[in-house]
């Protein structure tokens, strides 16, 4: 079942001479359990694609379905509910609230969605435990390292029953060990049935995805084929 479906999605900013086509006729489908990476140079439309897929921005034309619901047909309230219930976001700069502990940050979206505080907290702690963050639950964001903050942001995105994870350069400025840890977490969440779209310019991150889509000047210009098995790499010594 496809969790995210984008059909001929375009986004234009400005008019006339200053018109900019940020996205042109994007078709993208991500199934439950699938992980798609979107690669492209800056200005290619990667982040616009993600904000539109996450219903944080409307397209100029085209259709988007998240978990079967067509976004353009939803009211503002219904969209907000869909965002809270079905979509987890991971942004480059983490976006944690400084006045809340790590556990409170993770549980907040669930509480906003009406989950009773105790249940939200349990679900939050569970997500943190999976990411090896149990001993950081009562720390405030400024008491955490960059890698820990990013893991908290991911715990928040995967806590509850989110079906779609949208991540914009999820390893941000992390070193390669932490970047790998972040991708392992997202990959593991996909194995549990979540769909993910990861926008990145980093090929090492993108290589965790099942499919890599290449964006250029707002268009999908290419994508990877189903990769061959690892056996093909294991050749004799030269």
């Amino acid at each position: 079942m496809s969790v995210l479906e984008m059909r001929r999605v375009s986004r234009t900013y400005g008019q006339g001479a200053t018109e900019v086509h940020a996205l042109r006729d994007i078709d993208l489908e991500v199934d439950a359990g699938g992980m798609v990476a979107v690669m492209g140079p800056s200005g290619s439309g990667k982040s616009t694609l993600l904000t539109i897929a996450g219903s944080l921005e409307d397209p100029t034309s085209g259709e988007i379905r998240v978990c079967g619901e067509e976004l353009t047909k939803l009211s503002r309230n219904a969209k907000a509910r869909l965002r809270r219930r079905s979509i987890g976001y991971v942004f480059q700069d983490f976006n944690l609230l400084p006045g809340l502990t790590a556990a409170e940050n993770v549980a907040l979206p669930l509480e906003l969605d009406g989950v009773p505080a105790r249940r939200a907290r349990t679900a939050g702690l569970q997500a943190m435990e999976q990411l090896g963050l149990s001993d950081r639950a009562s720390h405030f964001p400024d008491q955490l390292s960059g890698g820990e903050r990013q893991r908290v942001a991911i715990a928040r995105a995967v806590a509850g029953e989110h079906q779609l994870l949208l991540a914009d350069e999820p390893s941000g400025a992390l070193d390669s060990a932490n970047g790998e840890a972040v991708m392992r977490l997202i990959h593991a969440a996909c194995k549990r049935g979540m769909a993910a779209v990861v926008v990145t310019h980093d090929a090492q991150l993108a290589s965790w995805a099942d499919r890599v889509v290449f964006l250029r000047d707002g268009r999908v210009t290419d994508q990877t084929a189903q990769p061959a098995g690892p056996e093909s790499l294991l050749g004799p010594v030269q």
């Binding site: 690669m39 140079p41 392992r184 990959h187 310019h201 980093d202 090929a203 090492q204 993108a206 290589s207 965790w208 995805a209 890599v212 290449f214 250029r216 210009t221 290419d222 994508q223 990877t224 084929a225 990769p227 061959a228 098995g229 690892p230 093909s232 790499l233 294991l234 050749g235 004799p236 010594v237 030269q238």
Partner: protein, 191 residues
């Protein structure tokens, strides 16, 4: 990949048989580099000829023949480890040549040429990452080998990305120094 020094390194831990050397070589390199027995024995013969290893007995051939490293071998190995590989002169890279040539061939979309290679490299990286995902956590040797491949391929992709951007900028409006001087004269801005 230097099989010669890998074998010396394994012998520096203590005397070993040929077959054992092969098994340990494969295990230490995450089994990414299979080695045939013939290769092991030819290399050992050369090492013995050069006085870097000694064998038990000239009469016993085959799997029961043991080898050990000599003092000269120890010294040679230590020297090799500390000698940087020669990377001072740029290799004649076929991909770089292709991109340079593509710029000169009429009717060629260089961005498309670049993309074909970029996609191929990303697909290779996906395969290496699958290996890392499946096994590397438990196998240090394999993780190191896979990381080396990933970083190598990644650096080629970075070069392609940079070339792509540079070629695009050059096509849309070359900024040449003469233009900047003209602009400065007109606006009165001093550098």
């Amino acid at each position: 990949m230097s099989v010669r020094y890998a074998l010396l390194a394994l012998l520096s831990e203590g005397p070993k048989y040929g077959l054992q050397l092969r098994e340990e070589f494969e295990a230490r390199t995450g089994e990414v580099w299979p080695l045939n027995v013939g290769q092991v024995y030819t290399t050992l013969q050369r090492l013995e000829r050069d006085g870097l290893v000694e064998s038990d007995d000239a009469d016993t051939e085959g799997p029961q023949k043991g080898f050990r490293i000599t003092a000269a071998g120890q010294q040679d190995l230590a020297g090799w480890l500390r000698t940087p590989s020669d990377v001072s002169s740029p290799p004649r890279d076929e991909l770089v040549m292709k991109v340079l040539v593509a710029l000169r061939v009429p009717g060629t979309d260089v961005a498309e040429v670049i993309q074909v290679h970029r996609r191929y490299l990303v697909e290779l990286m996906q395969q290496w990452t699958r290996i890392k995902e499946a096994e590397a956590e438990a196998d240090l040797g394999l993780a190191l080998v896979v990381d080396a491949e990933l970083f190598r391929l990644d650096s080629v992709i970075r070069w392609l990305d940079s070339a792509d951007g540079r070629i695009k900028r050059a096509a849309t409006g070359p900024i040449n120094p003469a233009k900047i001087t003209k602009l400065r004269n007109r606006t009165g801005i001093r550098p």
